[in-house]
């Protein structure tokens, strides 16, 4: 979960996620503060979670002192010293999730889900994606159009454009390419190295998926499913989100990546520590 200059909505997102997780599941959130200024106040976030739990108890929802929900939710925080971009934050989170230091006791993680920290994704949808991975999919992508979200018209136009571009460049026929809610299985996550620091990472992920499929044998393809999710748009998240002008810089970033990368974009020949 990348976070940049979020605190209140981040805390609410974490609370909602915690309450959506059944007690039987073990979840670890890798929260990457992407150089927020001021830095995300961990104490405030912790206090907000604590308060949320207290409220629950007061309302009698949890029933006892040891609320069963969120028992299994760990939160690992890492901070970028400077702002690098959402793609870079996701890659940092991916590395942390693959780092033996943070592996859960019961064996490696079964699913890797990415989500936004501004509250536009629902905790229940995160579970739906994880369930799709558990059901055997290698990649599960959130599809906001099938999920009954109220997508503003300007957004629809922009996303339709992005979709056409994606189809032309990756050959994947996905309906919602720039949705931050995605899930990967252990087989897929290794090849999902993100080198696009900024917003071009969405296209890069699609390319990685299509390349991973192309490299595998017929009977060993990655299975990709799309899961309906709902995205909540708020004025603040719309203001912070991508604009039409951002599309130009995405294309420029992609072109630079294409020009200057050394062909090891699939991550099978890592240049740095993984």
């Amino acid at each position: 979960m990348p976070a940049f200059n979020e605190e209140e909505r981040l805390a609410r997102t974490l609370c909602e996620l915690a309450s959506a997780i059944p007690a039987s599941d073990q979840v670890c959130v890798f929260l990457v503060d992407d150089g927020s200024a001021p830095a995300i106040d961990e104490n405030a976030v912790r206090a907000a979670i604590l308060e949320d739990r207290l409220e629950d108890r007061l309302e009698g929802r949890a029933g006892n002192d040891r609320s069963p929900r969120a028992r299994r939710m760990r939160i690992v925080v890492a901070r970028h010293a400077v702002n690098l971009g959402q793609g870079a934050a996701l890659e940092t989170a991916r590395r942390l999730a693959l780092d033996p230091r943070w592996q859960p006791s019961g064996g490696p993680f079964e699913a890797f889900v990415t989500m936004d920290s501004d509250g536009q994704h629902r905790g229940s949808d995160v579970l739906a994606l994880a369930a799709a991975i558990a059901a055997g999919a290698d990649v599960a992508l959130g599809d906001r159009f099938a999920g009954g979200s109220e997508v503003p018209t300007s957004r629809r136009a922009l996303l339709a454009l992005a979709r056409a571009f994606e189809r032309a460049t990756t050959g994947l026929r996905l309906s919602d390419v720039h949705n931050g809610l995605r899930a990967f299985g252990p087989r897929a996550i290794a090849g999902m190295r993100i080198r696009q620091n900024r917003m071009a990472h969405a296209t890069e992920i699609s390319q990685s998926i299509s390349r991973a499929s192309a490299e595998r044998a017929e009977d060993d393809q990655l299975s990709v499913v799309e899961v309906p999710v709902s995205v909540r748009y708020s004025d603040a998240s719309l203001a912070k989100g991508q604009r039409a002008s951002g599309a130009v810089s995405i294309v420029v970033d992609l072109f630079h990546g294409f020009l200057f990368s050394d062909g090891s974009r699939d991550g099978s020949h890592p240049r740095g520590p993984r």
């Binding site: 915690a18 929260l31 990457v32 150089g35 961990e42 976030v45 912790r46 979670i49 604590l50 739990r53 207290l54 002192d65 040891r66 969120a70 028992r71 299994r72 939710m73 760990r74 939160i75 690992v76 925080v77 890492a78 901070r79 970028h80 010293a81 400077v82 690098l84 870079a88 890659e91 940092t92 590395r95 942390l96 780092d99 230091r101 943070w102 859960p104 006791s105 080198r195 620091n197 630079h256 020009l259 200057f260 740095g272 520590p273």
Partner: protein, 138 residues
């Protein structure tokens, strides 16, 4: 033979070169070698401006129409290449910075708190304390 052609454009351009050099001379005083190279390059440029016949004759000799083009063509090629190289350098620098920032982030990564267990433990748990991490990895 060759004659100095003191046109208003030549005066303006040489004036600009002189002003730039003086500015750099004042601000880059510690970088003597760079100043020397700059002086040589600027002097060569000023010479070509004041005596355009030099470039003109060289251009005719190699089959280029105008003396200016004799200077411009190689300059454009060099600049395009320089621009591509600097973009690549910037890209590589950015990748290095990214890895550096990421390594720092990974080494400083820690458990926020343990939202399991009784609530008061959350208040006590320090983000860096080994106990809070251990209690979560059991």
């Amino acid at each position: 033979m060759m004659q100095a052609e003191i046109t208003p454009a030549a005066v303006a351009l040489v004036g600009l070169l002189t002003a730039l050099f003086l500015h750099d001379f004042v601000t880059l005083q510690r970088n003597r070698r760079l100043l020397l190279v700059q002086l040589v390059v600027f002097a060569g440029g000023a010479w070509l401006i004041v005596y355009p016949e030099v470039a003109r004759r060289l251009a005719h000799f190699v089959g280029i129409g105008r003396g200016v083009d004799f200077v411009l063509y190689p300059l454009v090629i060099w600049l395009v290449r320089e621009s591509l190289l600097s973009r690549r350098r910037r890209h590589e620098e950015q990748e290095r910075v990214t890895e550096l920032v990421r390594a720092l982030a990974a080494s400083g990564a820690h458990e926020l708190a343990s939202p399991r267990g009784p609530d008061h433990s959350i208040e006590r748990a320090s983000p860096h304390s080994a106990t809070s991490a251990a209690s979560c990895t059991e």
